[in-house]
Symmetry: C2
Subunit: 254 residues, 2 copies
Amino acid sequence: MQINCSRNLSVMTAPERIRVSCGDCPIRHRAVCALCDADELATLERIKSYRSFAPGTTIAMAGDDMRHLSSIVKGAATMSRTLEDGRRQTVGLLLPSDFIGRPGREVSPFDVEALTEVTLCRFERQTFERMVLSTPHIATRLLDMTLDELDAARDWAVVLGRLTAREKVAAFLASIARRMAGSQGQTGLLVDLPMTREAMADHLGLTIETTSRQIGALKRDGVIALEGNRRIRVPDLRLLMAEAGDDSDGGLLV
Amino acid sequence: MQINCSRNLSVMTAPERIRVSCGDCPIRHRAVCALCDADELATLERIKSYRSFAPGTTIAMAGDDMRHLSSIVKGAATMSRTLEDGRRQTVGLLLPSDFIGRPGREVSPFDVEALTEVTLCRFERQTFERMVLSTPHIATRLLDMTLDELDAARDWAVVLGRLTAREKVAAFLASIARRMAGSQGQTGLLVDLPMTREAMADHLGLTIETTSRQIGALKRDGVIALEGNRRIRVPDLRLLMAEAGDDSDGGLLV
DNA sequence: CGTGAGATTGACTATATTCAACCCTAGTGG
DNA sequence: CCACTAGGGTTGAATATAGTCAATCTCACG
């Protein structure tokens, strides 16, 4: 479990003990609490707790008891499954506002690992479950988020099942570009990749080598430019999306 | 769009006009209405309508307006996406009690096609949406079903991304065996396949030929036996599941 | 009995994997 | 200050797996 300083950790620090008021929360309007009114927010404020994880560390292992349900406030994590012989498949990329866990289940079906420094806003499971039952605003929002994730998971099935290696890589980069859109220079979109080639490969159902080769090919063809290993420039997002084998604008997101 | 009589349609009949009372409904305790009490059921009874589709026909096309949300009462259908160049990936196999559509969206993101004769129990979308908001029993059940489907979709991502062709076919047959478990003879489990090799291939991210070859290989190895093209006998389900590359009992279902 | 869709089989090919070597960069310690 | 190290990344050659193309089989149905 090496500590790789993705960007914001030049010195290894103890996890910061953040405590943000819900009103100032960066994911206030996108997370599971998005629809909550002032009263409901006050309740959440009382029962929430924060916890941080260093890059590369495990947030939950498949089979673990889930004592908490959480929202990602900051950072990126993966949800994955590993087969007995070591093959691994990432089944979800978790970004700020994404929800971890589900009401009514105590055991995590997947491994969850921090890619970068991750901050979670956590609720004790049973407390939250009670709150879901009594708070339609939360139940409704949770249903909506879950339906969105289901659509995304199904879109991803098309990527895994039918796209070529080049198309897979292009689809992934395009989806990251959309979700993590960095600075929009006149030279194009700057996108920080929150993960190694290995994590990308696990997400795409490819090997590291194939992933690397396809990134190289997209670079050679001018579809992307690299700025170090963890950052790409996308001169023309339309071009990148066209490489993803689906010219429509719908679908194909993580 | 050929009509292939999978099993129960020796003569092509006009779709039967069934009308079951909710109390007698075969999916009463598994569908979106599972938690409803007598009053709620009475309301559903008033607003529901039935519609049947012949095998091979289209229930909804990607991009279509969804005027209704439905539960599958009988039969099997697929949800799939087709790329411009014709590549197709099935993203979900729909069986009795499964729900089609989602509150809050007017347009279907996928094609939905009947594999066998399908009977739907339908609700006009906006009426149902209002009912979801006012009926926690429905909202709760819908959330639970959606979370289950999300888990299944993620499990399937592992199949698509990391299993070999043989493992994919075994995983699929095992999942069907579990969900459609037919008669449990002393010679093993009898499983009716509700689909052609092509539909299987589309579900597994393989070609027809590879799918056929792997079925042949599993047969030669005694893991399965064929009784015609649409029915298999599974002498030992554990053996079949072991072929699916995941020896655990969890996960790996459609 | 002829037809046609679905299924199987074979030969060849393309694509991604495997195995291995090597590069690059940042951090470490002499 | 510079050599050393290690993790991540890239590249090349050989290989395996699934795809493609084409022929053939099967069987329910007309």
